[in-house]
């Protein structure tokens, strides 16, 4: 069952804001080496103002590399070999991130795009207090603020993420993992960025703490109106918190859809496999399987669909033709021959 809301949400013909805040077009990233690793291959995504865009996939599918490319944080040997990342400010001014250098780049980071890293709990400096680390942000980016104002703002930020302002004097080891994660999120939000990129922000945390932090992010987003790019391998979680999501496999986006649609009627066999990998807490007991095999070596040229060797619905064209990311009638973009009208008859047999 495919409803029309999918097209509307994707093409922005109704409802949701179509105000784009970040647009990545045909981004490719390579890690240099004897055989270069093509970690991100021709990825195009748009982030709307105020939305949560989820990026999901197994490890090594290019999620984090792509996020680093979006925030201009790639370091050699990684290099963006193609593509453009554009940022659109509230006043309509657009910036091509590739042109930013030196002071302008420093000025841009954290002010416009902030990032919460994987294992952010360990991102804090263990030898200085939380307060002084937060103070650093304002001393660097807001040189005009005086000490009292900085202090007040730091306290405010902590209170905002549900931590007592007295904790400014605490050292990271005196805080629990969840509290440290909250501090890092507070720091990311300190300069009121338009975009926050979160790379597996809750993976190391317990379910309960994870839940609290996600609720917190959701509340802050509603209050402050920033956009979030949320990267994780936990599809079940992402379906809950994101508005739209992009499923990545072997450095490419293979499905790009509104979250509700993915939850109820995923199109790509890889997405279906990922969904099946989560046993349902309250569902029937049954024999369960993940996705057998492992992702391809990204150092090699990929012929045909990269998922074909692991795919349960593989058929003739998959082996030698790479499916483009395109939207079949009445649906959202998906890179799979099963949904290509040209193969309609075969897919009816293979897809059911």
């Amino acid at each position: 069952m495919i409803t029309t809301t999918g097209i509307e949400a994707l093409h922005g013909s109704a409802g949701l804001s179509t105000d784009i805040v970040l647009r990545a077009s045909n981004v490719s990233v390579e890690y240099a080496g004897r055989r270069p690793t093509k970690a991100v291959r021709d990825v195009s995504l748009e982030l709307r103002r105020g939305e949560v865009l989820g990026i999901v996939g197994e490890s090594g599918c290019g999620k984090s590399t792509f996020a680093y490319a979006l925030t201009r944080m790639l370091r050699p040997p990684a290099r963006m070999t193609a593509g453009v990342v554009e940022y659109f400010d509230r006043d309509g001014e657009s910036v091509d991130l590739a042109t930013l250098e030196g002071d302008r780049l420093r000025d841009f980071r954290w002010n416009k795009i902030a990032m919460v890293f994987q294992s952010a709990m360990n991102a804090l400096n263990p030898v200085t207090s939380v307060g002084s680390q937060m103070d650093d942000i304002f001393r660097t980016h807001r040189p005009g603020m005086d000490k009292a104002a900085r202090r007040a703002r730091c306290g405010e930020l902590l209170e905002m993420v549900g931590i007592d302002a007295r904790r400014l004097r605490s050292y990271p080891h005196e805080l629990s993992g969840g509290m440290r994660q909250r501090v890092v999120i507070a720091m990311a939000l300190a300069l009121e960025p338009q975009i926050v990129v979160m790379d597996e922000p809750t993976t190391a945390l317990d379910v309960l703490v994870q839940r609290e932090i996600l609720d917190e992010v959701e509340r802050l987003r509603a209050e402050l109106g920033f956009s979030v790019i949320f990267i994780t391998h936990d599809l079940a979680l992402l379906l809950e918190i994101s508005d739209r999501l992009a499923v990545m496999y072997a450095g490419q986006v293979v499905e790009y859809a509104p979250a509700e649609q993915v939850a109820t009627s995923p199109l790509h066999p890889y997405t279906r496999g990922l969904l099946r990998s989560f046993p349902d807490l309250r569902g029937e007991r049954r024999e369960m399987h993940g996705i057998p095999g492992s992702p391809p070596d990204l150092r090699t040229e990929l012929a045909g669909c990269p998922f074909a060797p692991r795919c349960e619905s593989v058929f003739d064209p998959c082996r030698d033709m790479t499916p483009p990311l395109q939207a079949p009638p009445r649906a959202w973009p998906v890179a799979c021959h099963l949904h290509d009208p040209r193969y309609a008859r075969t897919t009816d047999e293979a897809g059911r």
Binding site: D206, L208, A236, F278, P279, R282, R285, M288, G290
Partner: protein, 346 residues
């Protein structure tokens, strides 16, 4: 007869002169061919239980009986060896639990020689290949020659499982065996453990924080909170019909893809209200005579300041299937529950 019997196990850690009670009066039995899941958040004492059972940590009191081997006889070297042969471990991190300098074959040969009575030679090599086949690592000849860095996370965990099986154990402790692995391969590893358990009549302790896999891969579940088991019983009963407020909280925190947006938003608002009613600092645990969960418990009553006993969680159960389902909570005590539970403000 149960493969492993734990009676009143208590473990303390020394900390700046004071003591931290990590496990408090834990008793359970592991049956051959059965999986028991031990569920809880970090800091609940799950890993301490595993470390104590594997004798890396000395218990302060209580008894661990593994077949005929009890604590009293463990002072003898031969008994200790039997203990370690009979009880094996699968660790959380397959990247750290294998030696990067050695081949897969080396990892499997060692336990075969030390515990299996094997000598170097063609028979040993054949035993190594058999082990690799039993964990579905094929072709075994190729895998045996590889070093850990040439394997994926899932393959490494299979090697770690094969190594645990090398001593032909009766009890297998799996401490978060899939939490470091990619979601797509988690189920494969859990299915493998499940099959091995059945084929080899292993008693399996599955330690995890993931309620969903705990339910699907075990027959019984124990829920731990701050060193105590707060609820235990048949898996379906504990998850579908949780009796302890902590288990209820855990179950409600798990993502459920079937919920609609509106339901999600409702749940979020409810949680926010619950949280706002308490001060952040107050959520930290209270360790005294009373229930340890009462600082976070939405239903805390005055009686909760005294330690609750294990109570049958039969309330709400439709038939008698709740046998063996118990929870440590005053709410289940008919006389206490009759008192007004409105005093949640303090």
């Amino acid at each position: 007869m149960s493969a492993l019997t734990v009676t009143d196990l208590t473990v303390d850690y020394r900390q700046h002169g004071s003591r931290l009670r990590a496990v408090d009066g834990l008793s359970f039995e592991l049956e051959p061919g059965q999986t028991l899941a031990l569920v809880g958040e970090s800091g609940s004492g799950k890993s301490t239980v595993v470390r104590t059972l594997s004798r890396f940590v000395k218990p302060s009191s209580g008894e661990i009986a593994l077949g005929s081997v009890t604590d009293r006889r463990l002072s003898r070297r031969a008994e200790r060896k039997t203990y370690h042969k009979t009880l094996q471990l699968v660790f959380q991190d397959p990247f750290a639990s294998l030696n990067p300098m050695h081949t897969v074959a080396h990892h499997l040969r060692r336990p075969l020689i030390l515990h299996g009575g094997h000598r170097r030679g063609p028979k040993l090599d054949a035993a190594v290949l058999d082990l690799l086949r039993s964990v579905n690592l094929t072709p075994p000849q190729d895998v045996a020659r590889k070093h850990p860095h040439e394997l994926s996370g899932g393959q490494r965990q299979r090697v770690a499982i094969a190594r645990a099986l090398a001593t032909n154990p009766k009890v297998l402790l799996a401490d978060e065996p899939v939490s470091m692995l990619d979601v797509s391969i988690r189920l494969e590893i859990l299915n493998l453990l499940d099959h091995l358990k059945r084929d080899r009549d292993l008693a399996l302790l599955y330690v995890t924080h993931d309620l969903a896999t705990a339910r699907h891969f075990s027959s019984q579940i124990m829920v731990m909170y701050r060193g105590e088991v707060v609820e235990r019983g048949p898996s379906d009963q504990v998850i579908l019909n949780p009796a302890h407020p902590y288990t209820q909280l855990l179950a409600s925190a798990a993502p459920d893809p079937r919920l609609t947006r509106a339901q999600l938003a409702d749940a979020r608002t409810q949680r926010a209200q619950l949280r706002d009613s308490r001060v952040a600092e107050h959520r930290e645990s209270v360790v005294d005579e009373g229930c340890r969960f009462r600082g976070r418990c939405p239903f805390a009553m005055e009686v909760c300041a005294t330690r609750p006993p294990d109570l049958p969680a039969a309330k709400g159960a439709v038939n008698g299937s709740a046998a063996g389902h118990v929870a440590r909570c005053w709410l289940l005590d008919e006389s206490a529950a009759a008192a007004p539970a409105a005093d949640s403000s303090n």
